[in-house]
């Protein structure tokens, strides 16, 4: 038996491990302004709630201590699980308790919060209080992702703190292997390249699954986030797979009385949706067997363990899969590409009518129930300072300011990540977050049990999607959105 300590070698791994070191390195411009601004709030403690992800941990480990050092305002960040995060923020805001001064808002819940007037209009608040406005903070500097957090008036209701696109990852070592390439060429008559269409993707997936099966190795041709009891599978289908077949906004038409079924003008049970489902299920069947129990977490780990040759993986995981050798077996062998698409989808995305995949992320918002709104505004601006964002992008690969892309450190990391940041900057506009529905979790939970039955095979694809569309319309009527 040997005892092994593994130490990270890449820049990213070291950065992740040594969060505290950043606090000293972080140089804030205009320190005296922050000191004066903070003096007004002597003895105030700000409290935030967020999910315990690397970007959020950077807030509690680095930004909070630095901010306190500058301004004297203490910041406590409660980190909790994904399920609990929403519930705690909602209970607090619904009851008007005022526990939290900052809440994490995932892109998909913001419309529900806006519909309930839970959030402070940050643009307006800063305009009305010019003495609170920090010189380094500029709303124009945010990437287009910030548009997700704007109200109908175009004002900002949340400070974006993370942004990722769900991308197509593939193993460059396998795709570049001469023996494999030759075998693939012989079998299919074409070069082995990352797939552009679903047919190509399926062909590659089948090839790899049987190639490694013949060799008796545990590698499969595709990943699948296909848990049969967790909403992760629902999300993979409606946010990442269905759009690539041209089924947008979960197959619901918000401009047509929230119709979901084809009969009423929706697309949830359209032929495209059924084709998408059939295709996705066929990929799930040749994916690693753990896929039926896989949420986003397990899919990423499956890929990192080298058990899949290609697959759709959330961008927040792409970074550690590609660079962190304490967690990943495929460091240096990860390629990044746009998801495979059906005909016409790219054109629709380019013209702004459709999208090719999921743009995921979150912001920090200020609840109207907060008792320390002014102090909280200071911290929110602090989070969005260009010099802060630059360090943050290294520690936890996320970018929310245009200026961050120009940083040399970020450019270096971009190389390591196979050009992921370039894709985020140049092609990010092709991706889109969740549709602007105030009933996000409600609709998902109402239809999910039927969706899981499609996955287990208890319901056929046609029958299942028909039922889902009917249930979705029923739920929307019950909630009062559909007349």
């Amino acid at each position: 038996m040997k005892t092994a300590f593994r130490a990270g070698a890449s820049a990213l791994a070291i950065a992740l491990a040594a969060g505290a070191a950043f606090a000293q390195e972080l140089q804030i411009e205009n320190e005296s302004w922050w000191q004066e601004a903070g003096a007004r709030f002597d003895g105030v403690t700000l409290r935030g709630v967020t999910e315990s992800t690397p970007p959020s941990n950077f807030i509690s480990d680095v930004l909070a201590p630095k901010f306190e050092e500058l301004t004297g305002i203490r910041v406590d960040v409660e980190t909790t699980s994904w399920d609990q995060m929403y519930d705690k923020a909602i209970k607090d805001m619904e009851a008007g308790t005022g526990i939290y001064d900052m809440i994490y808002i995932e892109q998909d819940i913001v419309y529900a919060y806006l519909a309930r007037d839970f959030l402070v209009n940050i643009s307006q608040a800063l305009e009305e209080n010019p003495d609170l406005k920090a010189a380094g903070y500029a709303e124009e500097n945010f990437t287009t992702f910030a548009d997700n957090f704007r109200g109908e008036d175009g004002d900002l209701y949340g400070i974006p703190m993370e942004a990722f696109i769900k991308i197509y990852l593939y193993r460059t070592d396998l795709f570049g292997d001469e023996e494999i390439r030759a075998a693939f060429q012989e079998q299919t008559g074409r070069e082995l390249e990352p797939a552009k269409t679903h047919e190509e993707y399926a062909e590659i997936a089948q090839f790899f699954t049987s190639w490694f099966q013949d060799k008796g190795e545990d590698v499969w041709g595709s990943t699948a986030q296909a848990h049969t009891g967790h909403p992760a599978s629902w999300y993979e289908f409606f946010e990442s797979v269905a759009p690539t077949f041209g089924v947008y906004n979960w197959g619901i038409d918000p401009d047509n009385n929230y119709a979901a079924s084809v009969e009423n003008g929706g697309t949830m049970n359209s032929d495209e949706a059924k084709e998408a489902m059939t295709w996705w299920l066929s990929m799930r069947d040749i994916a690693p067997p753990e896929s039926v129990q896989s949420t986003w977490t397990e899919v990423a780990t499956t890929f990192a363990a080298g058990r899949a040759a290609q697959g759709l993986v959330y961008g927040e995981n792409a970074a550690w899969i590609a660079t962190d050798d304490t967690k990943s077996r495929v460091v240096g062998n990860v390629g990044v590409a746009l998801p495979p698409l059906a005909e016409g989808v790219m054109e629709a995305a380019e013209s702004g009518e459709g999208y090719i995949g999921y743009y995921d992320g979150g912001a920090f918002g200020l609840p109207v129930t907060s008792k320390n709104q002014d102090a909280s505004l200071l911290f929110l601006q602090f989070m969005a300072l260009p010099e802060v964002q630059e360090e943050w992008a290294i520690a936890a690969p996320r970018i929310t300011l245009d200026s961050t892309y120009d940083s040399p450190k970020v450019a270096e990391l971009n190389e390591e990540l196979g050009g992921y940041y370039d894709m985020l900057r140049d092609q990010g506009y092709l991706f889109k977050g969740a549709p602007a529905y105030p009933f996000h979790a409600q609709l998902r939970e109402a239809t999910a049990p039927i969706f899981y039955q499609i996955l287990t095979g208890d319901l056929g694809v046609d029958e299942g999607l028909d039922q889902m569309a009917a249930t979705a319309e029923q739920e929307l009527s019950d909630l009062g959105y559909r007349q």
């Binding site: 399920d83 909602i90 049969t228 067997p289 287990t456």
Partner: protein
């Protein structure tokens, strides 16, 4: 006999705490159950809708399915735990080498938090990477897939529950068995009763109160199970392990369906009370009124 006033004084703190943290919240839930309330509906207010929630409930296929699997789960889990727990408690009544160590080992599962139990069982049973499917495949050629097979997922939740909670039954039964007076047993042996007769006519009646109390506790805890199953299967595959605790959790947490969720809870609570009351009255009440 001492004065009844002292009795009430001794009882008062318990009643007060249970009133403040049990009854008052229940009244709120009961009140909510007659209202429609989803903070993310088009109308986010709390609207009185009479008995509509309860009317819907009777025809709610998802709820009835959940009720069905829950009853099966509770039945298999509690019966297995009771039999195993009794056998093990009896085994502990004898002296043998290493008894103290074995007793400590046997109580270890109790110390583990349900969310950890759920996580570890998930890691052990996930297809292809879990140790249990791998061993079953190597040894017996069986394919255990809790992500696809409803029966497999159901069985694993029952086994997990039995693994986790049998020690509780063992412990409470040990406590009951050690306080039994030895005289009736000696008398029975002198009278030439066999083992089975002793069990049915002497042991069981004497430990019946403890058995019923244990069954109650296990019954209602199994009915409330949330964390373990949520971590293990998420209620899947499909709705195969969407037990009532999980069902209600999904109604009120992600779906924020507070009004309807309250109605389900009230009904579940009512059914539990009725079931327990019947069990209680038939087995214990006469003896306590002596």
């Amino acid at each position: 006999m001492q004065s009844n006033r002292l009795g009430w004084i001794l009882l008062a703190p318990s009643l007060l705490i249970l009133f403040l943290f049990g009854v008052v919240p229940f009244l709120y839930v009961a009140w909510l159950s007659f209202h429609q309330w989803n903070p993310f509906a088009a109308n986010p207010d709390i609207i009185y809708n009479g008995a509509e929630n309860f009317r819907r409930l009777v025809f709610d296929a998802a709820f009835l399915a959940s009720l069905g699997v829950t009853i099966a789960f509770v039945f298999f889990a509690v019966v297995s735990e009771l039999i195993l727990g009794y056998v093990l408690a009896q085994a502990f009544m004898k002296d043998f080498p290493g008894k103290a160590i074995f007793r400590t080992i046997h109580t270890l599962p109790l110390i583990m938090a349900p969310i950890i139990v759920g996580s570890i069982w998930k890691l052990m049973t996930t297809p292809s990477i879990g140790i249990i499917p791998n061993l079953l495949d190597t040894w017996f050629g069986l394919d255990l897939n809790i992500g696809q097979s409803a029966a497999a997922a159901f069985a694993v939740t029952v086994i997990m529950d039995v693994w986790h909670w049998t020690p509780l039954v063992t412990l409470t039964l040990i406590a009951a068995l050690v306080s039994l007076p030895p005289d009736p047993f000696e008398q029975a042996q002198i009278d030439g009763a066999n083992k089975r007769q002793i069990f049915w006519h002497i042991t069981l009646p004497m430990i019946a109160p403890a058995v019923v109390a244990t069954v109650f506790i296990r019954l209602m805890d199994a009915l409330r199970t949330v964390d373990e199953v949520l971590m293990l299967t998420g209620g899947g595959p499909g709705s195969a392990t969407r037990y009532l605790g999980v069902h209600i959790f999904k109604e009120v947490f992600p779906r924020t369906n507070y009004g309807y969720g309250s109605a389900i809870s009230v009904i579940v609570l009512y059914l539990t009370i009725v079931a327990c009351w019947l069990l209680y009255v038939s087995m214990l009440a006469p003896r306590n009124q002596k």
